[in-house]
Amino acid sequence: MSGMTRTSAGTALGGLRQDGFRYVNIVQGNRGVSRDPQTMFTTVLGSCVAACLFDPDAKIGGMNHFLLAEPDEDQHVDAVAAQRYGVHAMELLINEMLQVGADRRRLRGHLYGGANLHAGMRAIGTSNAEFAIRFLRDEGIPLMAQNLGGTAARRVDFQPAHGRARCRIVQDTVADEVPRRVAPIRPAAPSGDLELF
């Protein structure tokens, strides 16, 4: 993997492919940031959302892959907690981009995913998509492209150094790889506790 690419446990999928890109898989709960022109972030999305952010001047891009919440057995979703985790997921991505030279004021966004794949579940995909759109609006990040909602899984490929994304609806066989139940994003480090100095 290129030294210009940082991922939180993203998985490099072999070397350069015929298209000239080195593919890095961004699984649920993870993110990747890169300025490497030969890096391609890739992910398969069901109800999760991937935000692809890009700074066109610094030519730095990043992708995350998050799920805010799924309903408990009583079909209850803690909307406030979901909002907190969503903001957290986006902040982690933005901070990593800023640390390698991106400028928050120049960021542009693409959003993908948010499908409601499985009958009988509440519209978690819709909730994820609505959160992501609202977040970009509140943060003043222009939404340049989106492919959200529906009932089918998607594969998204994102060239972080070029800001270009490709989104395809995937067939049932691939969609079956999308977990039926996946855990919402949780922080990697213990969070929320006060450490007094």
């Binding site: 907190r84 903001v87 957290h88 969070s191 006060l194």
Partner: protein, 121 residues
Amino acid sequence: MSRTIMTVDDSPSMRALLRNALAAQGYTVAEAEDGVDALERIDASAPDLVITDINMPRMDGFGLIEALRGRSAYAGTPILVLTTEFSDEKKARARNAGATGWIVKPFHPDKLASAIRRVLL
């Protein structure tokens, strides 16, 4: 009389989350979007506590803590860092700058309220 807390974070979404959580506890909330903005606004609200992010444009949380500790009016004001960062090196830097404590995001409203009560004696 309501105590005042200044939150300093470059994310409007995070400021909104904090505003809602703190207002629900009865605190008056003042806000700033980075260290420079906080230094310009702080005298108007004279907060009892400052909660600051670390990674911000113009002036980060470390710079803000050092600047506040250099002002006699805020030399003893509790300052909590609320950040996605959790490295020992950055915690040590904040401690040396004069921070009171460190909380890793995402925050939980009940834990945050408890932390505030501990430092707002």
